[in-house]
């Protein structure tokens, strides 16, 4: 049984609010089928507007697909009652692109990281504190940081905090929605290394959504190229990027900037 299975997912958005005539529609995702095995990092790469973020939202249950099924651990995510869904959700977490808006500015770091723990585990406050401090250390921050507020941290540090919250419940799958795209180049590498290290440590699976082939190449085991709501190409061995054939993949490949002067 695969950890995650998408079967012919389709999602259409209505545009505008017109009373007369037919409303315009946009097919954000049309017929995506994919499977993700446990312990694998699947990279989904595509230009902006290719539907990759919508796909992430559907998997997270934030959007309902018009057609198709999302099977997580063999169970259909969108036909669940609230209570069962909660149990399922425990194993499915997310790290967003915008690290600043993903944390409530009015809460301390400790409260932010403890939120999932409070929802699923009954801990005494000293146990909770211990866990939070452990998580902070795990992501390379200082345990003392739990008493500070988000505004006192840089983007990279906030992303570490978001990661700490995502792994707090030891989930099976984490959706990384452009999780490093907004960060400085140097910080990107640090976060990618942290993610890779955590994946080994807790046998996590990732769905790494990004427009940046370099970042995907760095961390993913398999690759899906998306364009206009469809997966246009698969690559099972990331070592063979040059084998990509679809024009969209080629375009993405050729727009990666070489890391040495003198190209343009």
């Amino acid at each position: 049984m695969s950890l995650l299975e998408l079967r012919a997912i389709k999602k259409t958005y209505l545009l505008g609010n017109s009373i007369f005539g037919k409303r315009k529609t946009v097919e954000a995702v049309k017929s995506v089928t994919l499977t993700l095995e446990s312990g694998v990092c699947l990279g989904i790469v595509g230009e902006s507007g290719s539907g990759k973020s919508t796909l992430g939202k559907i998997i997270l249950g934030l959007e309902k697909p018009d057609q198709g099924e999302v099977l997580f651990q063999g169970k259909n995510l969108h036909s669940f009652k609230a209570k069962e869904l909660k149990e399922l959700r425990r194993n499915l977490q997310v790290v967003f692109q915008d690290c600043y808006s993903a944390v409530n500015p009015r809460l301390t770091i400790g409260e932010i990281i403890a939120e999932p723990l409070r929802n699923y585990e009954r801990l005494t406050s000293s146990e909770e504190q211990k866990q939070v401090q452990g998580l902070l250390e795990l992501v390379g921050l200082n345990p003392e940081d739990m008493y500070r507020y988000p505004s006192q941290f840089s983007g990279g540090q906030l992303q570490r905090i978001n990661i700490a919250r995502a792994i707090a419940l030891k989930p099976k799958l984490i959706i990384l929605d452009e999780a490093v795209s907004a960060l400085d180049a140097l910080v990107q590498v640090q976060i990618l290394n942290l993610l890779a290290q955590l994946k080994e440590e807790f046998q996590l699976s990732y769905l790494f959504i990004s427009h940046d082939l370099q970042a995907v190449n760095y961390i993913a085991d398999r690759l899906a190229v998306m364009c206009k709501g469809e997966v246009v190409e698969w690559l099972d061995d990331m070592g063979q990027l040059e084998r990509l054939e679809h024009p969209v993949s080629k375009k993405l490949l050729s727009s990666v900037l070489p890391q040495y002067p003198g190209f343009l």
Binding site: L60, G61, L62, K86, R89, R90, L92, Q93, V94, F96, D98, S101, A102, V103, N104, R106, L107, E115, P116, N119, Y120, N162, R165, A166, A168, L169
Partner: protein, 278 residues
Amino acid sequence: MRQIQNMKRKLLSHKLMMISSSIIFFMIVLALFASFFAPNDPNLVDIAQKLHGPSSQFPLGTDHLGRCILSRLIFGTQTSLGTAFLVMGLMMMISISLGIFAGYTGGKVDYIFMRICDILMAFPSFLLSLALVGILGPGLVNLILAMVLVQWVFYARVIRGMVLSVKEQNFVLAAKICGTPKLVIIIKHILPAIISQVVVLIFMDIGGIILAISSLSFLGLGIQPPEAEWGMMINDSKPFFRNYPSLMLYPGMIIFIVVIAFNLFGEALRDALHIKKE
């Protein structure tokens, strides 16, 4: 240059804040300890003393029934402010809960809520209150009911809008995903994010409510005699306006000052919170 201007603006708003908040504070103290401040019984009729000018016993003179104007003004503070706060409080209870419920739930619930709002808002709100009081009959309780039932729509809609913008923020999505129950999300994430805006809204609008209460009382539909109330005092003084304009002037002035004070305070509060956000 710009810095100096900015400083000036801040100082000015600081000053306004000081003045308006001290007026409001003074008024609230006056209302709470009305019997302590008032020199005479506000409802004591003494026809022999009617329409007197200021004297040591009646600092602002007496009205057509010989009642002490100053005492009536002071006790009027109690009724006007008290009623206004009560109306605001009831209204906020309804509109915060309904606004958050509709905004957060979204979908059909929100659609139905919005249509109800549209219908209620299609009527001019003051006229609608007037009609309601007309049906229910005059009196303090009916006045409060009429105002709350008509005006909650406006606030509920504004609050719904605030909720909509907070709801889409990533930290709310993240809370949802890590399994936080709805009610906890609302109390812990959404309410704190909108509460400062709501407080500003309350202070900006309470002046309007005081005005509306006074207007309804002026029309004889609100607070009933012999209870002292500013709008009613103006109404009472109508026949004597030509010879004794001060009878109308005093309550008019006090309504003006209180309403302005609340408006300025609301504005200063908004500025202060806005600066904090930046």
